[in-house]
């Protein structure tokens, strides 16, 4: 196995293009674990550690944020600029695994891995994020909802890699919240609900909801959001929205919970998430 340490993104992309069996190495929290278990055997690793342009987080002119792919979960958990609606991303990052993993795991790595039971995909869908994908000849932005395609499968084409995550400006007064139910703190979610919510005069004026660990990709149902819009987020509205979300869920059965149990959690966690976001709303 070869080990490359490119100094910039173009070099990294050239190395990946030259060898389809090579893999980019971000933090290694997932890739090295899989290598240790012999689930993957890359021909070469292209370390992204030395690439400065992947390590920054900037505010954009439109009031959003551009998060470099190599920002660690610990970085994001401590990032004060992830406020308001963007707080959903900060909270999701803060609950990933445990401190040692958060110190090395990266947002780019997590997004490229595309595990729907992990925390960032659902949070990014709720935040209406776009994934900045860079290939040898082009750069494109893919809506998070379209980026995650299946279990551990994204729309990255051969030779492409995640270079940044783009968060749009959130509506004024929006509050983000990530509600996660897991067997133990830091475990993969049994079910999670990511919301971005804005209220006006006691009524919901804006809402985006995405579920994690509810199917092969984050689950978002615009019709469910429509049921919440204009409502006071009363029990009936939440029930109606939950019913629509449940129809779109296809959770797995595993040690963290049966499919049936996960579906049972949907209305409960949705209610908790919306209540928590409301509490944070100005």
């Amino acid at each position: 196995m070869e080990f490359h340490q490119p100094a910039n993104l173009d070099q990294a992309l050239a190395l990946l293009a030259a060898d389809p069996e090579a893999r980019p190495l971000a933090g290694g929290a997932t890739l090295v674990a899989m290598m240790n278990a012999e689930l993957v055997a890359p021909s070469a690793l292209v370390s992204l550690r030395g690439i400065d342009e992947l390590q920054t987080i900037e505010e954009t002119a439109e009031g959003g944020l551009r998060i470099g792919a190599m920002l660690s979960h610990a970085d994001l958990a401590g990032e004060a600029r992830l406020a308001g609606g963007h707080y959903v991303v900060r909270q999701a990052a803060a609950g990933i695994a445990h401190p040692a993993v958060r110190n090395i795991g990266t947002i780019g790595g997590a997004v490229a891995h595309g595990d729907p039971s992990s925390d960032l995909p659902a949070a990014l869908v709720a935040a209406d994020a776009a994934i900045e994908v860079t290939g040898p000849s082009a750069r494109r932005a893919v809506a998070a909802e379209d980026f995650f395609v299946d279990y551990l499968t994204t729309s990255l084409a051969e030779g492409e890699m995640v270079s940044a995550i783009l968060l749009p400006a959130q509506p004024e007064g929006a509050v983000g919240h990530y509600e996660k139910f897991a067997r133990v703190h830091g475990d993969y979610a049994t079910l999670s609900v990511a919301v971005v919510l804005a209220m006006k005069s006691g009524e919901c004026s804006f809402v985006r909801v995405a579920l994690g660990a509810a199917g092969p990709t984050p689950v978002r149902v615009p019709d469910a959001e429509a049921r919440l819009l204009g409502s006071a987020l009363d029990a009936q509205a939440v029930r109606a929205a939950s019913a629509l979300l449940i129809k779109a869920c296809d959770p797995m059965d595993d040690v963290r919970g049966s499919a049936e149990y996960r579906l049972m959690l949907v209305p409960r966690l949705l209610a908790r998430a919306l209540a928590a976001a409301q509490e944070g709303a100005p």
């Binding site: 689930l39 993957v40 891995h113 299946d150 551990l152 296809d250 797995m252 595993d254 963290r256």
Partner: protein
């Protein structure tokens, strides 16, 4: 995990039975099947490529027909491993064919599949989902092939 499929093939019962009991016919219908070899005594060896995202591996399987009552019923046992025993698989399957009128055949199979080892440890939940999808894909591939 249980993989169960019921589907209808627009072809007569005897023909469908011939097809489904012919490993050379069935193998190309199984997604990822690379190879199938008759090792005699109603037993076959097969290699099936499996992949979830970046994880790609090859299951080496031994399939034995334990019991059959042509043209309607067969009981099959499958044993296999991947990654030099890193994961091990056993499956007990039952296959039932019945005439569905109008020259059509109803095919029903039910497999009880157990996987232990690294793939089970890392992604049993994902595997179950993939297995269901594979079952459905096999059913469609077989139907199309048997009808042509």
């Amino acid at each position: 995990m249980i993989i169960e499929e019921t589907f209808t093939v627009d072809a007569p019962l005897d023909h469908v039975w011939e097809c489904i009991r012919d490993p050379a016919f069935v193998a190309p219908c199984v997604p990822g099947c690379q190879d199938v070899e008759d090792i005699g005594n109603g037993a076959y060896r097969a290699a099936v490529k499996v992949g979830i995202g970046p994880i790609k591996t090859m299951f080496k399987l031994e399939i034995e027909v334990l019991e059959e009552a042509p043209p309607g019923f067969a009981r099959i046992a499958t044993r296999g491993q991947e990654g030099t025993n890193a994961s091990r698989l056993t499956a007990k399957s039952e296959l039932t064919l019945s005439a569905a009128g109008d020259g059509e055949t109803k095919v029903h199979y039910k497999s009880d599949v157990q996987v232990v080892g690294r793939l089970a440890k890392f992604g049993l939940g994902i595997m179950k989902k993939k297995a269901k999808a594979l079952g459905a894909e096999f059913a469609e591939n077989f139907r199309v092939a048997a009808e042509s």
